[in-house]
């Protein structure tokens, strides 16, 4: 489903991604972890073309992301993305946030979009918040709306960029619960996160990145059993120790 081949990216002189290769099969859940500044978020943003890359190739469902001839908007409409800071549209109500792209991109009618939005709000447990503005919701609620907004497009895969990093501890679980349910439904997912509990529970594979390299790309069992690289071992011992 997602193929990343020898991708390199520079910000000016700064080499952010160094020859990264990996792949995600349909229905797989892959967790990407690593210290900050290791290029995790950049990698995930390259996958739907939000960040351009200079070398290598990325294909999603057979469509090349780097190809200038690719209709990126169309491709992105099939890939859901959830951001660290939710990025709901603050000037629209919750339900409008979820309806907007359904109407403008998929061409659904207002009624269809609203029905779909209400169903998804029910699914994430926020149906009674539909008429509110994002600023009136807690962080955890906002992130669940953001997930509903992405799901409304009937994506073939979902990308999560540190979905719980900006949340207060007591709100992390309500978001993780939604993500676990999604994974169990068979959604193809790439998740940048430090939530190792989530990784252990639902991930098929874990990718560990450091300084722009994919250092480790192992099954979840192997990764938590005996990470091969010293760098990953150190990282794990640091974040699992408490």
């Amino acid at each position: 489903m997602i193929e990343v081949k020898n991708v390199s990216k520079w910000y000016g002189d700064f080499h952010v991604l160094k020859d990264c290769s990996t792949s995600v099969a349909k229905g797989q859940v892959v967790v990407i972890c690593g210290p900050s500044g290791s290029g995790k978020s950049t990698l995930i943003k390259c996958i739907n073309g939000l960040e351009p890359f200079q070398k290598g190739a990325i294909a999603v469902n057979g469509t090349s992301v780097g190809d200038p001839a690719t209709n990126l908007s169309k491709l992105r409409s099939r890939i859901g993305m959830v951001f660290q800071n939710f990025e709901l549209f603050p000037h629209m109500t919750v339900i409008r946030n979820i309806m907007l792209a359904q109407v403008k991109v998929l061409g659904r009618t207002e009624a269809e979009a609203e029905e779909r939005a209400m169903k998804l709000l029910t699914r994430v447990g926020l149906v009674d918040q539909a008429a509110k503005h994002p600023a009136q919701l807690s962080g955890g609620q906002q992130q669940r709306v953001a997930i509903a907004r992405a799901l409304a497009m009937d994506p073939i895969a979902m990308l999560f960029d540190e979905p719980t990093s900006a949340l207060d501890p007591e709100m992390i679980n309500e978001v993780l619960d939604v993500m676990v349910a999604l994974a169990e439904d068979g959604m193809t997912m790439m998740v940048v996160t430090h939530e190792m509990g989530f990784a252990k529970k639902v991930a098929d594979r874990v990718i560990f990145m450091d300084e722009g390299h994919i250092v480790e790309d192992a099954t979840t069992e192997d990764f938590f059993g005996t990470p091969r690289s010293e760098r990953a071992q150190m990282f794990l011992s640091k974040i699992l120790s408490h």
Partner: protein, 219 residues
């Protein structure tokens, strides 16, 4: 000085002053619409990653911001009809002058407004499959306009006052009309005080409603 304040002079002058006020309001309203429209275009051009486009917009803005408004009014009133070879009428020539001049100022306000919306919001729009144009129109600009509403309205109030500069080409706006009547009836005190009060009240209404609007639309 106020002992001889003659209200009857004002009463007689009202119909003509109203004509003048209509001219001023029309000019202000149309110039705001045109200025904001072209200002938005210029702002988007200035933010374009395509060099020649952003260079053109930046040059335009710097050029018009380096000229006194009065010169631009002269220019359009006297030179443009000559260059075109036919008269375009006093109202339209000053309207074009105001739109082109104000567009440069609105551009800078709107550009700052657009930049006040985080880049991540653009990403959020793009990630949903919205095109660049849709993201701008539906997500970025509505937030940008809310953020810049106070500055935008302040600029518009300044422009409302600046429309009185059409005095120099003899167009009959509110202030010019007041001046004409003042000379005709030899009653400058009444008319200029009245004109000041009217400008003051209208600008005060403008700035208080700006504050109220800002509170209503604040995100």
């Amino acid at each position: 000085m106020f002992g001889g304040f003659d209200y009857a002079v004002l009463e007689r002058a009202l119909p003509l002053l109203w004509q003048g006020m209509l001219f001023t309001l029309q000019l202000t309203g149309l110039a705001i619409c045109g200025g904001v429209f072209f200002g938005t275009l210029l702002a988007l051009m200035r933010l374009s990653p395509f060099r020649p486009v952003s260079f053109f917009a930046a040059s335009y803005v710097n050029f018009f911001r380096s000229l006194p408004l009065i010169l631009v009014i002269f220019w359009f009133y006297f030179l443009v009809p000559k260059m075109l070879g036919w008269p375009i009428g006093g109202f339209y020539s000053v309207l074009i002058a105001f739109v082109m001049f104000e567009a440069a100022y609105y551009c800078e306000i709107i550009r700052a407004g657009i930049q006040s919306v985080t880049r991540a919001q653009v990403h959020a729009g793009s990630a949903l499959g919205l095109t660049y144009g849709q993201t701008m129109r539906l997500i970025i600009l509505p937030q940008a306009f809310r953020n810049m509403l106070p500055v935008l309205l302040t600029q518009s109030i300044i422009m409302f006052q600046d429309t009185s500069l059409v005095y120099v080409v003899g167009l009959k706006d509110f202030l010019t009309t007041a001046d004409l009547i003042a000379n005709r009836d030899n009653r400058p005190v009444e008319l200029f005080i009245f004109a000041a009060v009217v400008y003051f009240v209208l600008c005060l209404i403008g700035s208080t409603s700006a504050r109220r609007l800002q509170r209503t639309y604040a995100i």
